[in-house]
């Protein structure tokens, strides 16, 4: 009996100590600029405030202009974690040793995304081979959609220096929405983006659905995975994990999840990166040698 009481008291003490320690902590969370960076911050602010309310841990977002910056500046900006896309997450896991914490689930289960190659309907392009000599617009070299493009080029037998001359020109928008609008507005002939944004803009803007069509799409890849840096305090990690996992049971948490269009979070695992690792491998990417800078 005394032993039990001691354990209960000790657990309570540890929890209180962890909460007290966490209460004074601010964590810096990086955001990959998948879409308009300002909206990205605005969308994620409710989640940050929720975490603060529940754990006392202040969450400060830092936005990175390019996907690859999250790898390069993760340490310099002293980030504790980040919402990674599929490929950036995979890169960070290998290069920085980040550990996946949670990934979102939607009404249909785990939230996944595909990379899509799209063109204007009036472009006359109907196959990937017709893309040769066209102007291309990409999101980022460190995005999964770019890896998918490399995969398709590899399938088309375009390898090595030939890849550089396959398109007549290309540029990186840094975010998915702008890539879609670049093709729609004629800034490029072909574009690559995450399917979620293509679907979103198709729903919001009739011109997108009317004038663009998807030429190719990848297999399902993880959409977002929240990872924490290597060496992140386990107690705080556990607190964050518990808070995020229990959000779907908390009315306050449910409201925040709805604003993010999620149903909840589940524990993320290292194996969640397997689909993107396979895609990268098929694209001929050797991660240690991969130059993701634009």
């Amino acid at each position: 009996m005394k032993k039990k009481a001691f354990l209960v008291f000790f657990s309570f003490f540890l929890l209180a100590a962890a909460s007290a320690a966490a209460a004074e902590k601010t964590i810096i969370v990086g955001l990959v600029p998948e879409e308009n960076i300002f909206r990205l911050v605005e969308q994620n602010l409710p989640l940050a405030r929720y975490i603060e309310r529940k754990t006392g841990i202040k969450v400060r977002f830092t936005v990175l202009p390019r996907y690859g910056d999250i790898i390069d500046e993760f340490n310099s900006k002293r980030m504790d974690g980040a919402f990674f896309g599929a490929f950036t997450g995979y890169l960070a896991r290998i290069k920085l040793g980040v550990k996946p914490l949670v990934r979102p689930i939607g009404p249909g289960g785990l939230v996944t995304a595909r990379s899509v190659i799209f063109v204007r309907k009036d472009s006359g392009i109907h196959s990937l081979r017709q893309l040769k000599g066209k102007r291309a617009v990409f999101v980022d070299k460190a995005s999964a959609s770019y890896v998918y493009m490399l995969y398709q080029l590899r399938r088309l037998g375009v390898r090595g220096p030939a890849r550089e001359s396959f398109f007549s020109g290309h540029y990186f928008t840094g975010n998915n929405e702008e890539a879609i609008y670049s093709v729609l507005n004629g800034g490029a002939d072909v574009g690559l983006a995450k399917s979620r944004y293509f679907e979103k803009l198709s729903a919001q803007d009739p011109l997108v659905a009317e004038r663009l069509f998807i030429l190719s799409r990848s297999r399902k890849l993880p959409d977002i995975i929240f990872c924490l840096r290597k060496g992140f305090p386990p107690a705080t990690r556990a607190l964050l994990e518990r808070t995020l996992i229990n959000m779907s049971n908390d009315p306050d948490g449910i409201r925040v999840l709805r604003s993010l269009r999620y149903s909840g979070f589940e524990l993320a695992k290292g194996s969640d990166f397997a689909p993107v690792a396979r895609l990268a491998g098929e694209a001929g990417i050797k991660i240690p040698d991969y130059r993701y800078e634009r």
Binding site: P33, E35, N36, I37, F38, R39, V41, E42, F61, T62, V63, L64, P65, R66, D140, Y171, F172, T173, G174, N175, E178, R294
Partner: protein, 671 residues
Amino acid sequence: MKKRLIYSLFLLFTLFTLGSTLTILYIYRTTFSLRTLIALHRVEIIRQNLVISAQTVQTHLYTIGTPYDTGVDEIVKNVIHLDNSVHICLGCHHTPQMTARLTEINQLAENYKDALSNLITTTASPGRIEKLRMTAIGIGTMLLDKSREMALIANNKLNDETLDVMQQIGNSRIILLVTLLLSFCIALVIAVTMTRQITAPVNALVGATRHIKSGELGYVIPFKGKGEFGELIDSFNDMSLTLKDSNGKILRYLHNLSNLYSITITFHSVSSLTDILKELSEGVRNLTESEQSGILLRDEGGEFFSHMYPACGITEENAKAMKISSRLMEELYHSSMRRPLILNDDLQGSPTAAMDTQLGVRNAMFVWVGHKGKPMGVMRVANKKTGDFTEEDARLMAILGNSFFVALENVRLWESLRLQMKELKDTQEQLVQAAKFAAIGELASNVAHEINNPLTSILGYAELMREDEDINNIRRDLDIIEKESLRARDIVNSLLEFSRKKPLKVGLVDINKVLESVIELIGVQTKDSRITIAADWGNIPPIKGDEDQLKQVFLNLASNAVFAMGKSGTLGVRTFVSGDFANIQISDTGKGIPEEIMGRIFEPFFTTKNEKGTGLGLPISYKIVQSHNGFFDVESELGSGSRFTVKLPLGDKTVKVLPVSITPSGSGVPM
């Protein structure tokens, strides 16, 4: 007054309510305006923030890619501030025109965000990047212009609003001040008016109470008012007048009572019928303020009621002429139910109607003096000119009548008592003389043989002379005979002297000398006994008294002492002065007085000498000493003896020596 108070309080309350309402209204209005102004200022701050944020972002745009680049996070922070400001503005209520402007700004902000995001995240050729930068700067400039334009409009409105509010505050201040002053002035006027209305009658009442307190009964407050104070003052005035009347009545009653008392006292201090009649008639006249007053009394025969004289306002001749038969008076007494006859302006029914008419009487009153249900007299008062008689007069006269009758009875009793006292005095004198003789007799029986001794000697020497022829012997025997004869004569003379009835004679008495003569008498009595006499004479000044009576006292005490000692003992006689008294102590060494009879020794006819005593010696002695303003002190111890001390006042204090009388007394030893 109550209504006035209620109206005043209601007016004050209304004034207070109006003032409070006005104040609250203006405070509410002013604070509302201030709130609006503060809200506008807050909005202005938001607009300013918007402008500042936009300007900051614009500045950052020019520094992107330069060493002065502060990073994306700074831009994000400012853009989010900018966005928040726009959304806050949009969230407020505006005119449609303003809403349209704000919507336009909002759209510009959205475009600005897109342009900025593109510029920040895009990696393209320098030309494309520059194009994106210029696009963003252009949108930013437009946003700034629009924001400034809005801020200008808002600022103008804010200025106008501020001026309005300042004007309102100024107006409110003036109105509040005026309201406050007005309320204060009105309240002051009401308070002063009310205070005056309340204090004026109260002061008048206080003043009136002081007048009344100082004895000015009947003081009337001149204050005229309505309402409760008016009623109060009227009541007070009535009370004051009533007090005055009551006081007058009380004084009158006191006067009458005083007169009654003095007359009654006088009744009991006079002892003759003439004096009583005189006092009665004068007293009645004073009490009733009548012109004639007197009393008719049943005469000794009981056949008539005759008017007594002295009387007031009537001559002796007229008084004597008023004689009414007792039968008529008794009929009148019973028919009137013993109530007084008050005849004002109508003398029909007056028992003295004829004389009344003759004397020109207008009003008359008869008050009965009865005893044991029978009329013993009737007091008569009459007026020729002055006022009517009242029931009150009758009541006073009835009281006086009762006192008169008592006084009359007292006079009769006093006369009777005086006669009885005279008889008693005579009897007592005889009794004292008898006691004296008894004492002498007692003494004589004791000293008889003393007289007999010289007689025997005389007889014996006479026989010897008859037989003796020697002339010398005969002469010697004759000398003895002569001496013995003289001795016998002295004894007899002493007895005669003592037993002789003498008139009371008050003079200065030498106590020691009186005692020496008593001892001489007692010495004869104790000659054949072993009783010694021890005398201790003090220096006593002469006292005022009757020498014979005092001698009787001392002889009696000494005789009792000798009797108590029997054949032997010491008779002590001592005189001394103690305080204001001459002390005469006569003591014996006899058997003493038992305690149980100590309290009775001064009772008349109480004696322990059986047939040898009369029981009058000590009572008479006590009375004599008492008549000399002195007193006895008796001490006795059984088996050791007794000591009687007579204390007589020195100097002129023994003022009045009265004839001694004896009354049976159950008291103990008088002290």
